[in-house]
């Protein structure tokens, strides 16, 4: 199978590059050229393994994931749901159009101070920021997907006497699913960015990976900062892969 060969080659090249990068970094930090406050990968890896041995990182990961996953699920629920309705029913679409063009260009992170005043330093504030940031990419992608459906499908379904609900469920949803998945992927990445930033800015409740970075940074512990960054990066990568895996399962007919 050529595609699986290509896949394994991709993995091998990625691993080689990662190893090269790490050894270069290690070499640089052993020479005096590199600022001493940037820890070597060996030290950072040591910190990461220590994180997991002592288990002190798990509550932080747990609370960070809780925030981003709840935010993401809300986006999936509302963004995709409203997107499908707005794409399928013209009046609803027209109703939402000005909302999108008005609220989409707002950098939602600017709303964080506003939410902080309204809801305090709580998970509600953070989840709301995550939700508002990731909602529009998901909504717009879904809307695009639904509006781009081949009209022939809809007509034939209508001709065969499908009800509106059945058309939504049987025709519109599967046909728009590739686009919807693209929207989810963008939304998921945004979720992680916003999780990290809302934890770093809104003086934290003392839990979460973003808070961990902020705290370690304040004490000048670059090694812990880097270790936490690597944990966030690994989580972001992992969840992206999970989503792609899910996509492969659900969209098996789309050989992508």
């Amino acid at each position: 199978m050529p595609s699986s060969f290509k896949k394994s080659r991709f993995i091998v090249i990625s691993l080689v590059e990662l190893l090269l990068f790490l050894s270069l970094w290690q070499l640089l930090s052993m020479t005096d050229w590199f600022p001493t406050y940037v820890s070597s990968p060996a030290v950072v890896l040591g910190i990461i393994s220590e994180f997991f041995m002592t288990g002190e990182v798990f509550p932080h990961i747990g609370i960070s994931l809780y925030r981003s996953i709840v935010g993401f699920l809300l986006v999936v629920l509302f963004g995709t749901g409203l997107g499908i309705l707005a794409g399928f029913f013209q009046p609803i679409g027209r109703f939402f159009d000005p909302v999108v063009s008005f609220f989409n260009p707002i950098p939602k992170i600017a709303l964080l101070p506003v939410f902080l005043v309204w809801f305090g330093v709580t998970d509600t504030t953070r989840i709301l920021i995550i939700f508002t940031s990731a909602f529009f990419p998901c909504f717009i992608a879904t809307l695009d997907g639904v509006r781009g459906i081949n009209k022939l499908y809809l007509w034939s379904a209508e001709n065969m006497g499908a009800s509106k609900f059945k058309m939504l469920y049987r025709v519109v949803l599967p046909a728009a699913l590739p686009k919807i998945f693209d929207g989810w992927r963008v939304a998921l990445a945004l979720t992680f960015v916003m999780m990290f930033s809302s934890e770093m800015i809104g003086s934290s409740t003392g839990k979460g990976l973003g808070f961990m970075i902020l705290n370690a940074d304040a004490y000048g512990r670059t090694d812990i900062v880097l270790a936490a960054v690597i944990v966030i990066a690994a989580l972001g990568f992992l969840f992206d892969r999970l989503l792609i895996g899910l996509r492969g399962r659900v969209l098996w007919w789309q050989n992508r």
Binding site: E17, I106, A110, A189, I201
Partner: protein, 248 residues
């Protein structure tokens, strides 16, 4: 009369939101201080436009966004095009840009602060890093779909690699490059505001945090309106440039 009706139907959702907001204010469910009326926000917005605080901070932010974004374009577009042309470069770069895409690169910001200091350098670098990914990816897919006939005829007529880049690949890829720009530019704005909110002593993000610390919610909301108008204007500008110069 018809025009008014058309306007109301078109902007129904926004009008409803505004009415709802104003209704909350009039019902005094929340303290005025925390939930100012729309009229007050608008008034503060106009006042704010006359202050130099807003404009100097905004100037710094715009400078950071533009430098980071332009750097990402200058570096990203050649990378994307070369990736589509040579399988060696493709293999080399693909892991970085495919596997690196879902990683929140902005989390590295504290490290960049250590490396480049608290000033513009660390922010520009973070903006650059976030903007280059969408630009490379959309350039790559755009250049992949450049018609091979054009490339072959260019090669047949003896065009050098350099000439091929400027005369065939770049124009052919321009539409998708602009798609990448449209994704990257708002990200640049967000990252600029975000990094300034985390640690800075100037820029619009800093201004926002500063105003919020003085507990003037109406000013904060006015700045939010200002930033969103800016983001909207930037997007319009990009569309205008595209329609003007990428007319094919």
């Amino acid at each position: 009369m018809k025009a008014i009706k058309k306007f109301i139907v078109k902007y129904l959702a926004l009008i409803l939101i505004a009415l709802l907001w104003q209704g909350f204010v009039l019902a005094e469910l929340f303290p005025r201080q925390l939930f100012p009326g729309l009229g007050e926000i608008l008034l503060v917005f106009v006042e704010l436009l006359a202050t130099s605080d807003l404009w100097t901070n905004m100037g710094v932010t715009i400078y950071r966004i533009l430098v980071g974004f332009l750097l990402a374009a200058i570096v990203g577009i050649p990378i994307g095009i070369q990736m589509s042309r040579s399988s060696f470069i493709d293999d080399l770069m693909q892991p970085i840009f495919t596997a690196g895409y879902p990683i929140p690169r902005v989390a590295l910001y504290p490290i960049f602060v250590l490396l480049f200091g608290l000033g513009s350098g660390s922010k520009i670098f973070t903006i650059f890093l976030e903007c280059i990914f969408p630009i490379v990816v959309s350039t790559y897919y755009g250049a992949k779909s450049v018609n091979h006939l054009y490339v072959w005829s260019g090669q047949n007529m003896g065009a050098t690699d350099r000439k091929l880049f400027w005369k065939v690949f770049l124009p052919g890829t321009m539409p998708s490059i602009f798609t990448g720009f449209r994704i990257a530019l708002p990200i640049g704005v967000v990252i600029a505001v975000l990094t300034e909110m985390i640690s800075s002593n100037n820029g619009i993000g800093y201004f926002l945090v500063y105003l919020s610390a003085t507990l003037s919610q109406s000013k904060v909301l006015a700045v939010v309106i200002f930033i969103s108008l800016f983001g909207y204007g930037l997007d319009r500008l990009l569309l205008y440039v595209r329609n003007r110069y990428v007319y094919w």
